[in-house]
């Protein structure tokens, strides 16, 4: 006889597991960059509209995270970093994640379009499509360039924030996009250098596995070099100014120094000190991006008080 009291509920989904599907840590980056994109724009939204815009951009990002977890459940189960996620851990069924991802995608796109404008909603829809289909389904398991092209998905939020406020795409929005887009490859490849066994076990073609670690080190350097002009160029637009430019020069100099050190050292040296440089550059890359967007905000505050800009 079945007794409901003996039912094992230790693996039952709790509310937090559904929140986990939305990748809250990625969402926090989406919220921050979208908020900056919205706040530095020359047009100011009503606070309720601004709040709604950020909420639905974040929700769209969360929806694409749920779709990604649905599609990648098999490789998440292999990788140490991801095997505790709700689907591989058995707490959430794949179908549930798919349903939540699709439903939240629809809600977030429609609500963003209604709260702000249709272009912002369309851009959010494209971002979800790009992350869930182009990156997760087509590129991630097919090419070591997955990180490069997939980085575009993470680069859209500040552009959507800008478009939500202004209704159009501008050079400033494109430069904020390029800043994240070009930052993503060196950031992730620095991580891949010291998380080496995981991606290989999951058969995800990271550059470290397909082209070797020496080539990856060179890529970290050259992509960092390619990132610098975009970061600096933003300083000469309407969202930049002396404070941003000074911060950007310092941050780029330090990022270049770290990338150079990664490029110039070999695997023996890295293994000897436990990938100290690679870990330091990875940590610094997070600070690098965060402070660039903080600097945009500082310029916006200064402009509002009549002191910022050129």
């Amino acid at each position: 006889m079945t007794d409901i009291r003996s039912f094992d509920d230790s693996n039952e989904a709790r509310f937090g597991d559904y929140v986990q599907l939305l990748k809250p840590r990625v969402m926090s980056l989406v919220v921050f960059t979208a908020l900056v994109g919205l706040m530095v724009a020359p047009v100011h939204l009503h606070p309720v509209e601004a709040f709604s815009a950020i909420l639905f951009i974040a929700l769209g990002g969360g929806a694409s995270g749920a779709l990604n977890m649905w599609w990648d459940a098999d490789i998440d189960a292999i990788m140490r970093r991801t095997k505790g996620r709700p689907i591989p851990a058995g707490r959430v069924q794949p179908g549930e994640a798919l349903a939540i991802g699709l439903a939240l995608s629809g809600i977030s796109v429609v609500m963003l379009a209604l709260a702000t404008n249709v272009l912002a909603g369309a851009l959010l829809a494209f971002t979800i499509f790009f992350y869930a289909v182009v990156y997760s389904m087509w590129l991630k398991r097919a090419t070591p360039q997955n990180i490069v092209i997939g980085g575009a998905a993470g680069a859209f939020p500040p552009m959507i924030g800008w478009v939500a406020a202004t209704g159009s795409i501008s050079v400033e929005a494109c430069l904020m996009f390029m800043l994240i887009f070009m930052w993503t490859p060196p950031h992730f490849w620095a991580l891949a250098l010291f998380m080496k066994s995981d991606y290989g076990d999951a058969k995800v073609p990271m550059l470290t596995e397909t082209h070797g670690r020496k080539i990856t080190r060179a890529h970290v350097w050259w992509y960092t070099v390619a990132l610098v002009p975009f970061a600096l160029a933003a300083g000469f637009t309407s969202i930049g100014g002396p404070v941003y430019l000074a911060a950007s020069v310092l941050l780029n100099a330090e990022f270049l120094r770290g990338a150079w050190r990664i490029w110039r050292r070999d695997e023996t040296a890295a293994e000897a000190d436990g990938y100290k440089v690679e870990k330091a550059v990875f940590r610094f890359s997070l600070i690098y991006l965060f402070l660039h967007f903080v600097a945009f905000l500082v310029e916006a505050v200064l402009r509002a008080s009549g002191m910022g800009g050129w």
Partner: protein
């Protein structure tokens, strides 16, 4: 034995409460957005298979 509160209700209380709060917050947000847009006077009419001269863009030079 009949129990007024089934065990499953207690077990899923967190999920139900979370979902309930999310839905309530969504309703409040849609209401707030509506109030903001209506009080600001955004266009509240659209094409409805009938002639609406007031919806035509003002040109000033029309004969």
């Amino acid at each position: 034995m009949f129990r007024a509160e089934h065990e499953i209700h207690r077990r899923r209380f967190g999920r139900n409460l979370g979902l309930g709060l999310v839905l309530a917050a969504f309703v409040v947000l849609v209401f707030a957005l509506t109030v903001v847009k209506v009080t600001r006077g955004d266009p509240m009419q659209a094409f409805d298979h009938a002639m609406r001269p007031e919806l035509a863009p003002a040109t000033g030079a029309a004969p």
